[in-house]
């Protein structure tokens, strides 16, 4: 890296010489550089605005279409704002989705699997960050390495396991939910995230707690956990979003039993493949219903979400 720096410094030395030109041309140069600055600023913002529109457009189109009447959707020239606003699309979407059941299932699975994950993550992260034991680094490296293996390989065997336990039988609703929850009670990435956070907590606190006669267990729940609340919030939100978006595994477990569908399964099953423009209004209303809670979480917990997601790349 150091070599590189010097190389570029040498590269650009011509510019230094160019700058040392005559006095009269300096003003002219300043004006030119001001103009190029403005031009580059315009280009920069124009680019960002165009890309921003491309990013926003699907959201906009989803909302607009969800409010349109069937007749308007089927116009050859599409309109960018509904001529008549049709709220009934939403009533239809809620009814057809069987939204109450989907919401109940998703929240049940999401919250229980999130709480379970938080407990296992806190315990493991504490052991890796604070406790001293033989093979600690080895086990931790091993766990990180296992993140490389694609989940598909486990999904097949896990499906075999849970169906051998009878958890996939359509009569066994409790088993169905257990199958959607228990395998997700552990996340190596979150252990890694929380361990980093625990390590930042100064050792003096630990020693002080020891002097006060606190046990490791008390120290963890009374000092570490409150101090790590931001990271725990991040984990909570990301995990909840994961449950809201999960499709593959619940789809395998539910295998067509709509009583145990999660929200995404319900959405896909209700509005199946057929391309029916008459249905676009209700279909887009349903996608709005699925998307809005996520966007609300994003608005309220933006900081937590972006920090958690961004952390993944720091190792490089």
């Amino acid at each position: 890296m150091r070599d590189e720096k010097f190389k570029y410094a040498a590269d650009t030395s011509d510019y230094v010489l160019a700058l040392a030109g005559s006095e009269s041309s300096t003003e002219k140069k300043q004006r030119i550089s001001k103009i190029t600055h403005i031009i580059s600023l315009v280009i920069t913002y124009a680019f960002l605005i165009i890309m921003g529109i491309i990013i926003i457009f699907p959201f906009y189109w989803m909302i607009i279409t969800s409010l349109k009447e069937g007749e308007e959707i089927k116009q050859l020239q599409q309109t960018f704002f509904p001529q008549v606003i049709r709220w009934e699309n939403y009533t239809e979407a809620f009814n057809r989705l069987n939204f109450g059941v989907l919401l109940r299932n998703t929240l049940l699975v999401g919250i229980i699997s999130t709480l379970g994950t938080l407990i296992t993550t806190i315990l493991a992260a504490y052991a890796f960050a604070r406790l001293n034991f033989k093979g600690r680094d080895l086990v931790f490296t091993f766990l990180l390495g296992s993140m490389m293996i694609p989940g598909e390989m486990m999904v097949i065997s896990n499906y075999i396991s849970v169906s051998r336990l009878g958890w996939t039988a359509s009569s066994n609703i409790v088993g169905n939910f257990a199958a959607m929850i228990v395998p997700f009670w552990v996340s190596i990435f979150y252990i890694y995230l929380l361990r980093q956070n625990f390590k930042q907590i100064p050792n003096e606190l630990y020693l002080a707690a020891k002097v006060d006669g606190k046990s490791d267990w008390e120290f963890l729940w009374k000092v570490m956990v409150p101090l790590a609340m931001p990271t725990l919030t991040t984990i909570f939100i990301l995990k909840l979003m994961g449950a809201w978006n999960s499709y593959v595994w619940p789809n395998l477990i539910a295998s067509g039993n709509s009583n145990v569908y999660l929200i995404t399964n319900g959405l896909r099953e209700t509005f199946s493949t057929a391309d029916n423009p008459n249905d676009y209004g209700a279909q887009m209303a349903a996608t709005v219903v699925v998307t809005v809670p996520l966007l609300l979480l994003f608005i309220f917990f933006r900081k937590y979400i972006m920090r958690g997601v961004g952390r993944a790349g720091i190792k490089g």
């Binding site: 052991a127 766990l143 996520l294």
Partner: protein, 313 residues
């Protein structure tokens, strides 16, 4: 910290280790085992002996007992689809997100606002937004055709029996969607990388009054190379496992395209694997998943080797 912590520490780790043993480590071994079994029935756990590599052969060669049906699905549909999606979306999404991150990093006014906007696709449901894209790309009343000024151009679905969907148009639609969906994460990682770059590099360049594009190309991009490598590896792995986007955009059958133009559906490798689980062919699904794992491993190793020479740490 005393040594009496030793057994206590393992108690703290016990829940995680037990769960991982049951739901991660055992399944990996079991999947390898099942992939060697002949006619495995997962509900009863019975099988008729070892097929060894026959399941792999059945999945990958046209001369299998199944008259080549599975071979067609893997070698003529799933693998080409997966490779094409990967080759198109990985470099494009990295380049686009890097340009956006560089531009975002160079502004001050509205920076937060744009950052929030560009992150929005991350907090979406892949199936729901896939359905939105299929409405945008709709044949008769789609806004995309409208903006192009054409009518009845099929991108996703056939609307009548006489209609055909050209494979390459469908591929365009799904790649567009995947890139749209993958930008936020990459932009965020690149922005993080940009913040870590020591300001003295820029100060040096500024004193030398080097033009902006030259600073970006000769200083910023090389200094971002660890992030670029990280993005390449993770998005290669991610796009080899593409599945939800296909279900969202094309529905549960993965589309229906004109066979004269390319593969007849947008089914991917993971699609094939889950399809086989659904059809109770768990041994074929296992073989295919290990095949996929080997491809991913090979790509990751090659990328690491190639980039060793190019990445500046």
């Amino acid at each position: 910290m005393e040594s009496k912590n030793n057994w206590k520490a393992w108690l703290y780790l016990a829940p995680v280790l037990i769960l991982l043993a049951v739901f991660t480590f055992y399944p990996i071994i079991n999947t390898v085992y099942v992939s060697f079994l002949k006619d495995y029935n997962y509900t009863t756990g019975t099988h008729s002996g070892f097929a060894w590599f026959d399941n792999y052969v059945a999945v990958l060669t046209p001369y299998s007992e199944l008259g080549g049906a599975m071979y067609e699905k893997v070698m003529k549909i799933a693998l080409p689809n997966t490779l094409l999606i990967t080759i198109i979306t990985v470099p494009l999404s990295i380049i686009i997100s890097m340009v956006i991150a560089l531009t975002l990093n160079s502004i001050k006014i509205l920076k937060k606002f744009f950052q929030t906007v560009f992150f929005m696709p991350y907090v979406t449901n892949a199936i729901a937004i896939g359905m939105v894209f299929s409405v945008i790309f709709s044949t008769d009343y789609g806004i995309f055709n409208n903006l192009l000024g054409v009518q009845n151009l099929a991108w996703i679905y056939r609307t009548s029996a006489s209609d055909t969907v050209n494979y390459w148009r469908a591929l365009f639609a799904i790649c567009f969607y995947i890139i749209w969906h993958s930008l936020p994460y990459k932009i965020l990682i690149f922005l993080g990388g940009l913040q870590n770059i020591d300001a003295q590099y820029y100060d040096a360049a500024k004193i030398d009054s080097a033009p902006k594009w030259k600073i970006a190309l000769k200083i910023t991009v090389p200094l971002l190379s660890p992030q670029i490598l990280y993005m390449m590896i993770t998005s290669f792995i991610g796009s080899f496992k593409e599945y939800n986007s296909v279900i969202g955009l094309f529905g549960k059958d993965g589309g229906n395209f004109d066979v004269n133009t390319g593969p007849s559906t947008m089914q991917t490798m993971v699609f094939f694997i889950y399809d086989q689980v659904d059809k109770n062919n768990v041994h074929y699904a296992s073989a295919a998943s290990i095949f996929l794992f080997l491809i991913i491993m090979a790509f990751t190793v090659i990328q690491n080797k190639v980039s060793k020479k190019r990445v500046h740490y």
